[in-house]
């Protein structure tokens, strides 16, 4: 099992991978993690909206950098679902010579997970995107680009997608009968999407299979306990783990999705432990997203003020000598 997983994700040097795996396992048995984090501690998370527009978000978790971009158009619906809007997800990653061909399958799995979590979980109601049944609906496209991968891409992709869905504003509509008026942003303020809840996913690595843990406990008699479940695994930890679980919870503590696709069997109390840990961590990530949204709104306001400051410096507005001239011209014309 482990040999297959090692061959599955090869990096620059197989020998270095093997040394990292052995070091990670020794650290887990000693109750530590290789980068000195606690078992339930995330890496440093930073949520950012890099552009002045609201449609690109960038989330960094340690060395993993993921951007999510959104686009919204008013289109004709599918004939078989005339009252439902369209929401589409896509995950892309730069391909390098060192990557194996299994990377594409992982990205497809991540795309399916995003679709299941956000579209199937009812975060964005596709029926709420309908404008005129059978003629005009909103079509949303969310593209996730993994710029740097140092483990735990699933969580960072979900956080970036949730951040861009919360922050995006679509143009406002006026519907009169069968006519739809799309107002530009300078006519009316754009409208946020209707988000029902905000699921945030957290990946957990199960360090050892139950049989291995029993044999280890029988062999050792000291009181020091080995780590069983670690959150936010890095690339080396994901390679060394016996299995992995992805748990998605929303801000109210409700579990939206649990996913375990490969690896050994796990106990039910480990799954419960994962859910409790995710419920503790979700409000922290959501507050980071809200703070980033508020900071970006402030930055946009300052940019708008600077734009208008330039307009006030024009010669036609501030100088008083030019003001009487139009009145004179009007008098001479009459």
């Amino acid at each position: 099992m482990m040999a297959h997983r090692c061959a599955f994700q090869t990096i620059a040097s197989p020998a270095l991978t093997q040394r990292e795996v052995e070091f990670t396992k020794s650290a887990w048995i000693a109750g530590l993690r290789p980068d000195q984090r606690g078992a339930q501690q995330l890496r440093e998370v930073n949520v950012d909206f890099p552009l002045l527009s609201r449609d690109v978000s960038c989330v960094r978790c340690g060395g993993t950098i993921v951007t999510a971009a959104i686009a919204c158009e008013l289109v004709e619906p599918f004939p078989y679902r005339p009252k439902h809007g369209i929401i589409d997800f896509s995950v892309r990653q730069p391909y390098t010579e060192r990557d194996s061909s299994a990377k594409t399958a992982e990205l497809k799995k991540l795309t399916a997970f995003l679709e299941r979590l956000i579209k199937g979980g009812g975060v964005v109601d596709t029926e709420g995107l309908c404008v005129l049944p059978g003629r005009r609906v909103w079509s949303i496209s969310v593209d996730v680009t993994v710029l740097n991968d140092e483990g735990n891409v699933t969580d960072v992709a979900v956080w970036a997608t949730v951040a861009v869905l919360l922050h995006y504003r679509r143009p406002e509509l006026t519907i009169r009968g069968d006519s739809v008026i799309l107002h530009p942003t300078h006519e009316r303020d754009p409208v946020p999407l209707s988000i029902h809840h905000t699921p945030l996913s957290f990946s957990f690595a199960i360090t050892m299979a139950p049989g291995d843990r029993n044999r280890l406990a029988r062999g050792r008699r000291d009181s020091q306990e080995a780590l069983e479940v670690v959150v936010d695994p890095t690339f080396a930890e994901a390679t060394a783990a016996s299995s992995s679980v992805v748990v998605a919870v929303n801000a109210e503590g409700q579990v939206c999705s649990v996913s375990k696709s490969e690896g050994s069997c796990i106990h039910l109390d480990e799954v419960n432990h994962c859910m409790e840990t995710a419920s503790l961590l979700a409000p922290h990530i959501l507050s980071l997203i809200r703070d980033a949204m508020a900071a970006h709104d402030k930055r946009r306001q300052e940019a708008l003020k600077r734009m208008f400051l330039w307009a006030q410096k024009r010669s036609g507005v501030t100088s008083e000598a030019t003001e009487p001239e139009p009145a004179k011209k009007l008098k001479t014309e009459t």
Partner: protein
């Protein structure tokens, strides 16, 4: 009478937008750069010359992948045809960016020193607000320097839009001149009315109004050999896109206008080189 010629975002004709540069952020690549001019933002990542699975072993191969951060949303019914056409148009533009960047790399990087290798470049376009070719080329140059790839020189790319000025409309020329004086009047008209130039255009300025816009040009200029701050080393790669001849000012591009565009691009490249130099100040 003394009204200043300003653009709609407050810049003069010869003024560039604000620049932002961040390097060495993507740790899984050998070199990376996050570069933006105004709202146009490009992330370039370079994987240095690595062993390649290719057949030509004589020199290094160059692979450029261009991605856009967001696609065009899907549609059903008859709108699907429009969406597919827009996607094909976007793929064609991405292919043009790929070819331009490949030509820039082949002109700059010393590929002959790396036989049996491949140089991979991943360009992600986060936002496109005009001057995309020059922003992508500048981001690529910073990523190559960050990766330590040996280059012949450093380059800077500049985009310029040429359009007809407001005064002196040529519509009045045929009505006032006779048939005998027509060639002299036309030559006098073209020589007395040079095209106006816009440096670092936004997307709205690139598209123009369809009447006065003549051409959009992107020049890749190299650094000067003596390291002085007032000149550049010449044009290495360029791309000129003119309006069709059927429009009012189409096909009016003359060699004198092209020389003026190159001179303006050389003066603008000096500011980009000084920006690159300031970003390279080491920490103390």
């Amino acid at each position: 009478m003394s009204r200043a010629l300003l653009r709609r975002d407050g810049r003069g004709h010869r003024e560039m937008r604000g620049k932002e540069l961040r390097t060495s952020e993507l740790t899984q690549f050998d070199g990376s750069a996050w570069y933006s001019q105004g709202l146009t933002t490009v992330v370039a990542a370079v994987n240095g010359p690595v062993a390649a699975r290719q057949e030509d072993y004589r020199k290094c191969n160059v692979q450029v992948y261009v991605n856009r951060a967001v696609r065009i949303p899907r549609a059903g019914g008859t709108d699907r045809l429009c969406v597919e056409e827009q996607r094909l148009e976007q793929q064609r533009m991405d292919a043009e960016v790929e070819m331009f960047l490949t030509a820039s790399i082949q002109a700059v990087v010393r590929l002959d020193q790396f036989p049996r290798c491949v140089l991979e470049v991943h360009v992600t376009i986060l936002a496109d607000d005009g001057a995309l070719l020059s922003v992508a080329t500048n981001a690529l140059m910073c990523a190559l320097l960050d990766a330590g790839v040996p280059c012949r020189t450093t380059v800077a790319a500049v985009t310029i839009v040429a359009f007809a000025p407001e005064d002196g409309s040529p519509v009045t020329a045929p009505t006032t001149t006779t048939t005998k004086a027509a060639p002299e009047a036309s030559s006098l008209l073209s020589s007395s009315l040079p095209l106006a130039l816009l440096l670092d255009p936004t997307r709205v300025e690139e598209v123009g109004d369809g009447v006065r816009t003549c051409a959009t040009a992107t020049f890749v200029l190299s650094n000067s050999v003596d390291g002085s701050n007032n000149s550049s080393g010449g044009v290495l790669v360029s791309q000129l896109q003119t309006c069709p001849r059927s429009s009012m000012h189409g096909g009016r591009m003359s060699s004198k206008d092209l020389v003026g565009m190159v001179a303006l691009a050389e003066r603008a490249a000096v500011s980009i080189f000084s920006f690159f130099r300031k970003c390279n100040v080491p920490l103390e």
